[in-house]
Amino acid sequence: MKKSLMAFLTLALFVGTAVLASANSKMVTVWCWDPNFNGYAMNQAALVYNKSHPDVKIDVVVFPNSDAVMQKVQAALQAGGAGLPDIALVQDFQIEQLVTNYPGVLADLKAAGVDYSQFAANKVGPMTEGNKIYGIPFDTGSTGLFLRADYLKAAGLNPAHYQKDLTWNDVITLGEKVKAKIKKPLIAFDTTDWTFLRMMVQSAGGQWFKADGSLDLSSPAIRPAIATVKKMYDAGVLYPTEGWGNWVSAFNNGDAAGLMSAVWIIGTIKSQPTNAGKWMVVPTPRLSGVSGARNASNWGGSSWYVFSQAPNKAGAIDFLKSTWASTDPDALEFYNTILKGAGAMGTFLPSRVGSNYTAKDKFFYKDQAVYHDFAKWMADVPNLRYTANYNAWGSAISASLSKLYKGELKTPDDVLTDATTMYKQSISQ
């Protein structure tokens, strides 16, 4: 049977090549999830590293999203570690879950000599376990409200009037005006994602969990935040979308006049060149009537982790230390490059002096120096405790929020009760 012989030969070739590839200790495999953002940043780091280590190949594998990376990491761990990469990018809100469920799978980088005093404290927190510290912090998710200045003008408003600290009530008023004049909802809003609410609560210093990981809904920021989101939804200020792709197309195509997101969305915004000169960013609006409310918050942010069972652990650690945790001029310049190139704002403190941190960006309305603004706002962000149960809670409350929008649940307390029940079932308490 010629066909199956051919098939067998091809299979043998595949296996052979795979074996050869893994035997190559001069390779470092990295798993991440955005070719325009963290994939791009890692490739830049590879360029820097290859100057002094030309024989090492940094293989950057891009997955479609961060959940895919987590799932494949877990599948590989379930298989005893076969197929694990050397380095994986993990979101800050997911790392505690990984560490709790799979003790010992990550390499202790503090013991490997990384100086964590050089990194932003709120990034080091989630990756610390006792006196072990696991990752290399990557980016910050300093948030801002992106608005289409051209749409504001079309609605008869002056964009400069909004480039200041606003409250969400101000935003609702603005949204109503814009909707009345040009029929466009103000903010594109992914209804399947609870981070909008979570970011609002964080901006007022709210917490969802106690230090021991148990759910704590006593924070004074939570209920007003839920009420605000509902008010915005009912006022037609929000343009609901059903997932990430839909959300991006809503603001890039101009179906909505703005979005609430973080500095890392800049790469996606710039991927629509016809919008050049139209976008402006204003500080995160704050919750009215909640003490401690600020005009800054955080959305996302991830870090690089090395696996204890990594095929090329030593090589991976050396690579990370020489690029992401190094004060070499080349390394610092690389941080500067990825800031402009993808809006990747690093959390390595010595790198904050790069020229791009203060440069004007021509893509934005009136050449706004967006990175300078985001960095300024970042200093004001209250810390948020994630814990290992963050995802489970997020799933529960997103579902409850959907019922709130539909009117099936009426008050913030209804939402919290509904979500708590679902949450407890999902973590089998």
Partner: protein, 296 residues
Amino acid sequence: MKAKGSFEKYLNRSGWWFVAPAMALFSVFMAYPILSSLYLVTRRWRGLRDSFIGLGNFVRMLHDGLFWHALGENFLLMIFQVPIMIALAMVFAVILHHGIRRFRGAFRLILFLPAITSLVAYSILFRILLQTNGLANNIMQNLGILQQPIAWLNDPFWASVTIVVALTWRWTGYNMIFFLVGLQNIDPEIYEAAEVDGASKVFQFFKITLPLLTPVILFSMVTSVSGTLQLFDEPNVLTNQGGPANATMTAALYIYRQAFVINSDWGYATSLSYVIVLLAAVLAAIQIRVLGGRNK
């Protein structure tokens, strides 16, 4: 004398040889995994560690609102989507067989076309078409059928409707082919005799066609119900992992998430899947009983 002759033994051995490869694959890749995972039902998993919890998984299941909600969605689809689809398939089969003379082959092919798509492919197409700012809403607004766009994928009710519509689009043609084949097997003389006796077309349909097609209808129903119970691709791809407020979460999708996405709790996921197996067996048995006859 019942002793087997050597020729019979030779035939018997040959019979086993022919069946052996299939049995080997079945044992290794189906029987062994299912049977050997029975013990998982009594364990609770967190990451790579497991612990014994007796019947704890089943207790947890009883309180697991989301699981029952997901199962409820499966049943909703079985009650609404399957009958609609089978009725439509029957209608079109009858039309193509009795109702028209020309272009039969062409219509048959076109109506069957949706069935060749992979579930992922057509789910993706529908998902893009039905976005709030997508083509379906645009066309309907332009035609004046809608004033406001419908949130097909954002609203829990419409999301379920979307699944029903999508499944019907995808599977009606497939079932129609089975009915067509069944119709072809009916001797036309029966109809001629009935005509002569003065029976109306409607009478003929209900008293001749349907009874004779019972085996095919049973087959369609059993496979459709079984397929609906296992629904995974569409809720996952079309409505983004279970839909708004988990409106379109199905049992299989929920079990998958328990095992691979949320917490890798193999014990719980396995327990849930055994419940589904039980349900599948019961449903099949009921259908075979009710619609009677051979179970093929």
